[in-house]
C-alpha cells in the first residue's frame, strides 16, 4: 500500500516537473482534422507510420503478455515494475554511447542496467534482513531517480540529436522506427521459441522449484533466463509504451488471462492475444486523440480488457459467479418447498398424499402468491403434480424430498454425536448442508452413525428403503406403506 503511494507520488511529481515531456508526446503529428476522418485513417491503414506503430504494439503486446504470465504465476509481478524503472539510466547511457538514438545501443545498455538492478535486488535479499518488497522498492526508486537526473542532463547537453529521448518516459508508438520494430520482432520470436521449447521446464521450475532441483534441473539457469527474456521484452517495448507504464503491459493482460482459464498453455495464448488487442486499442485511441502519449492509453485499454475478463470470465467472472449463486439460491428455495410438503405429510403420519396450497404457505411462512410461483416451478421440473385443490409428490419429487430430509437429520445427528454440539445448535447448519451433501458422504455418515433411525429431536430418518420403496408402488395405492420408516419397523 505504502509503496503504491510512493509510486503515485512519483508520477504526479513527474507530471509537474516535466510537463513538456508528457505533453509533447503524441502518436500523430497531423494538423487539425476531425475525429471521423482520423478514425477512417486508422482503419484504412493508409499511414505508413501508423502501420509500423500498429505492428510494433501488437508484437510488444504478445511478448509482454507471455512474459507477464510467468511473472504472475511466479508471484514476481513487482519484479517487472522494478526492472522497467531500473532501465532508465541505461537508456541515457545508450544514447551517450554515440550521441544519437540508436535502438540497438540503447537496447543493450538498458538491458545491462536492468539486469544490474535485478542483481542488486537479489544481493540485498541475500545479504541483508530485507525481504523482496523492500529491496524492489529501493532499486525501483534509486535507479529511476538516477535515470531522471541523467536524462535531464542529456537534454541540456549541446549538440546531438536528442529528439525522442524524452518519449521513453511515457512512450510514443509513432516514434518507432523500422529498427525498433525489427528489435521487437526478434525479441518476440525469441520469447515464443524459448517458451515453446522449454515449456515443461518453465512450468516445473515455476510450480515446484524444490522438486525441479531434486530431479537435477538447473533451476537458477531458468530463473535468470526468464529474467533476461523479461529484460528484453521490457527494453524493446519502451519506445512504444514508456518506462513508467510498461509494467501494466506485463501484468494486466496476464492477470486477465489468469481469470479466463486454468490451463497454463491457454493462459499464455490468452495473455498474448489480450496483449496484442491492448496494443491495438491503445494505438487507436492515441492516434485518434491528440497531444497524448501512447503508454497511458495502452494501460487504459489493458484496464478495460481486465475489467471485461473480471466481469465476463466463464468460471471466475463476477457475472458467472453471480449467476451460479442465483441458480443455487433458486434451487435451495425449491428444495425447501419440497421439504415443507414432506413435513406437512409427515405431521399427519402420511395418511394423505395431497397438501393444499394454504397449508404449504403456512408451513413455509410465505404468501400464497409466492407458493404458487414455487409450485409452478416444481411442477415444471417434474417434482410435484398439481390438482385443483392441492399438490402431491411425483416419484422423483418424493425421492428428492426424502433425500433432503435424510441429509438434514443425518447431519444434525452427526453434529450432536460426533462433534458433541448441543441438539439446539445444529438445525441452522443442517439447513445449509442438506442441499449439498453427496451420496458418497451420506453413505459415510450412515456408517459412522451405525445406520441410526432417529435424529436428535426423535424424528425418523428416511433410509434408502423408504426412498426407493415408493418408486415401485403406484401413486394411488398403498398410501400408508409410502410413509418413511414403515419398511424398517
Amino acid at each position: 500500500m505504502k509503496r503504491k503511494t510512493i509510486k503515485w507520488g512519483f508520477l504526479v511529481g513527474l507530471l509537474l516537473v516535466l510537463p513538456n515531456l508528457a505533453g509533447a508526446a503524441r502518436i500523430s503529428e497531423l494538423a487539425e482534422e476531425d475525429l471521423i476522418n482520423q478514425v477512417g485513417r486508422f482503419f484504412s491503414l493508409s499511414d505508413p507510420t501508423l502501420r509500423l506503430a500498429l505492428l510494433g504494439t501488437i508484437l510488444l503486446g504478445v511478448s509482454c503478455g507471455i512474459m507477464g504470465v510467468f511473472l504472475v504465476i511466479r508471484r514476481l509481478a513487482l519484479m517487472g515494475d522494478a526492472l522497467s524503472h531500473a532501465v532508465l539510466p541505461g537508456i541515457t547511457l545508450g544514447f551517450l554511447w554515440n550521441m544519437r538514438k540508436d535502438p540497438v545501443a540503447i537496447f543493450f545498455c538498458a538491458t545491462a542496467v536492468g539486469l544490474l538492478g535485478a542483481a542488486v535486488v537479489q544481493w540485498l535479499r541475500q545479504t541483508t534482513k530485507h525481504k523482496e518488497d523492500a529491496a524492489l522498492g529501493f532499486v525501483l526508486a534509486s535507479f529511476f531517480g538516477v535515470g531522471i537526473c541523467l536524462l535531464t542532463m542529456v537534454q541540456n547537453l549541446p549538440g546531438g540529436s536528442k529528439s525522442g529521448l524524452d518519449k521513453f518516459l511515457f512512450g510514443q508508438a509513432a516514434a518507432m522506427g523500422v529498427r525498433d520494430v525489427w528489435l521487437l520482432g526478434v525479441v518476440t520470436m525469441l520469447t515464443l521459441v524459448a517458451v515453446f521449447a522449454f515449456f515443461k521446464e518453465l512450468r516445473i521450475t515455476s510450480f515446484d522449484p524444490g522438486f525441479a532441483r531434486a530431479i537435477g534441473l538447473p533451476v537458477q539457469v531458468f530463473h535468470y533466463g526468464l529474467m533476461l527474456l523479461l529484460a528484453f521484452a521490457i527494453v524493446s517495448a519502451l519506445q512504444a509504451v514508456g518506462v513508467v507504464l510498461v509494467t501494466a503491459m506485463l501484468v494486466i493482460p496476464a492477470a486477465a488471462a489468469v481469470l479466463l482459464t486454468d490451463r497454463l498453455g491457454w493462459m499464455l495464448v490468452w495473455a498474448a492475444g489480450l496483449g496484442a488487442l491492448t496494443g491495438v486499442v491503445g494505438a487507436f485511441f492515441s492516434f485518434v486523440g491528440r497531444n497524448l502519449p501512447t503508454g497511458p492509453f495502452m494501460v487504459l485499454a489493458a484496464g478495460l480488457v481486465f475489467a471485461l475478463a473480471l466481469f465476463f470470465g466463464p468460471r471466475h467472472g463476477i457475472l458467472a459467479r453471480w449467476w451460479a449463486h442465483r441458480s443455487r439460491r433458486a434451487l435451495v428455495r425449491q428444495e425447501n418447498t419440497l421439504k415443507a410438503l414432506y413435513h406437512v405429510l409427515e405431521s399427519e403420519d402420511f395418511r394423505r398424499d395431497v397438501v393444499t396450497r394454504e397449508e404449504l404457505a403456512q408451513r413455509r411462512r410465505e404468501t400464497l402468491e409466492e407458493i404458487n410461483a414455487e409450485v409452478k416451478k416444481l411442477s415444471r421440473n417434474g417434482m410435484v403434480t398439481t390438482f385443483r385443490d392441492g399438490i402431491s409428490f411425483t416419484p422423483q419429487g418424493w425421492q428428492r424430498a426424502c433425500e433432503i430430509v435424510r441429509n438434514h437429520r443425518l447431519w444434525e445427528l452427526y453434529l450432536t454425536n460426533a462433534a458433541h454440539l448441543a441438539p439446539d445448535h445444529v438445525h441452522d447448519d443442517a439447513e445449509q448442508i442438506e442441499h449439498v451433501l453427496g451420496e458418497e458422504v451420506v453413505r459415510q455418515l450412515e456408517r459412522r452413525l451405525n445406520f441410526a433411525k432417529r435424529d436428535p429431536h426423535g424424528k425418523l430418518i428416511p433410509g434408502l428403503e423408504d426412498i426407493r420403496q415408493w418408486r415401485g408402488t403406484g401413486w394411488n395405492t398403498g398410501r400408508r406403506a409410502v410413509g418413511y420408516g414403515q419398511g424398517e419397523r
Partner: protein, 263 residues
C-alpha cells in the same frame, strides 16, 4: 525384484558423513553420520525444529552444507539423482497454480527426459498407473486447487512413484491427511519396500512411527539414534530426543553460522 539387503559389495543407498547444516542463523543439523541399508523403511522422527526436513533437503543438495558429504549409491547426489524419488511437503507449493493432476504426476518423468523433450506415450502410461495406485485416476483432469488435502498428498505420492526410483525421500507425507488416506499411503510404502526400494520418511507421530517403519532415525539437531525400530524405540532414546534442546549446542552453531555468513 531385487533381493532385500543383497550383496555387501553394493554401495548403500544413502551414506552421510559429518553432515552439518546451518542457515539463516538458526542451527539445524550438526555432525550427522548415517548409513542406510538397502530395503530399509526409515521413519525420521524428532520434535519440531529438530531438522527432519533439513536432513532430507540437505541430502538432495537443496541446502548448502556447512560441512560433511552425502553419497547416494556410492556417488554424488547429482550423479544419481535419477535414482531418488522425492515427496516435498504439501505446503511447499502454490495449489492455485494453473496445472492439473495428470500434469503434476507427469513431472515425475521429467528427470528421464532431455531438456525440451515432451513426455511420451510410455510416460503417460506410467503416470496413469501411478495415479491408479493412489486411487486418483478419476481426478486426472482435475485442477489441483480443487483437491482436498489428502488428495493433494496422494498426487505428490503418485508423482514420486512415477519417478520409478530406488531411494525415496518423503517429507511429512502423512501431514493433514485423513485416516483412510494414511492407511492407503502406508500400504503403498510397504509395497515399495517389498520391491526392494529404500524409503526415508519424515514423520511427526511417534506411536504410529513404531508401527509403520522397520528402522527409526531419532533426530534432534544431531543424530540421537539410528537402527532397527525394536532396538531404537527405547525410553532412554526417546527421552534424549524429545527431552528439550541442547542449548549450548544451539548457541555454538548459531555463532558458527553467523561467522560463516560474515566470511
Amino acid at each position: 525384484m531385487r533381493q532385500v539387503g543383497s550383496s555387501e559389495t553394493n554401495p548403500p543407498p544413502l551414506e552421510v558423513h559429518d553432515l552439518t547444516v546451518a542457515y539463516q542463523k538458526k542451527p539445524v543439523l550438526y555432525g550427522v553420520d548415517l548409513i542406510v541399508p538397502q530395503g530399509a523403511m526409515v521413519g525420521i522422527v524428532g520434535p519440531n525444529g529438530a531438522g527432519k526436513s533439513t536432513l532430507i533437503k540437505a541430502v538432495m543438495g537443496l541446502l548448502p552444507l556447512s560441512s560433511g558429504w552425502v553419497k547416494i549409491f556410492g556417488r554424488s547426489y547429482r550423479e544419481s539423482c535419477q535414482r531418488v524419488g522425492y515427496v516435498p511437503q504439501r505446503e511447499s507449493v502454490d495449489w492455485d497454480f494453473p496445472i492439473n493432476v495428470m500434469e503434476v504426476v507427469l513431472m515425475g518423468r521429467y528427470g528421464r527426459l532431455r531438456l525440451g523433450q515432451r513426455p511420451g506415450k510410455r510416460d503417460r502410461e506410467v503416470a496413469a498407473e501411478c495415479l491408479d495406485k493412489v486411487k486418483m485416476l478419476p481426478f486426472a483432469k482435475r485442477q489441483i486447487g480443487n483437491l482436498s488435502g489428502g488428495q493433494q498428498q496422494r498426487v505428490f505420492l503418485a508423482r514420486a512413484l512415477a519417478q520409478e526410483s530406488d531411494l525415496y525421500l518423503m517429507d511429512e507425507p502423512f501431514l493433514g491427511v485423513d485416516a483412510a488416506t494414511e492407511a492407503a499411503i502406508v500400504e503403498i510404502l510397504r509395497e515399495l519396500r517389498r520391491q526392494g526400494k529404500t524409503l526415508m520418511v519424515v514423520h511427526h507421530d511417534l506411536p504410529s512411527a513404531r508401527e509403520y517403519f522397520d528402522h527409526l532415525l531419532l533426530l534432534n539437531m544431531r543424530l540421537v539414534a539410528f537402527g532397527r525400530t525394536e532396538e531404537i524405540f527405547t525410553p532412554e532414546n526417546l527421552q534424549t530426543t524429545y527431552g528439550g534442546r541442547l542449548t549450548i549446542l544451539s548457541e555454538v552453531v548459531r555463532v558458527l553460522s553467523t561467522q560463516s555468513e560474515n566470511r
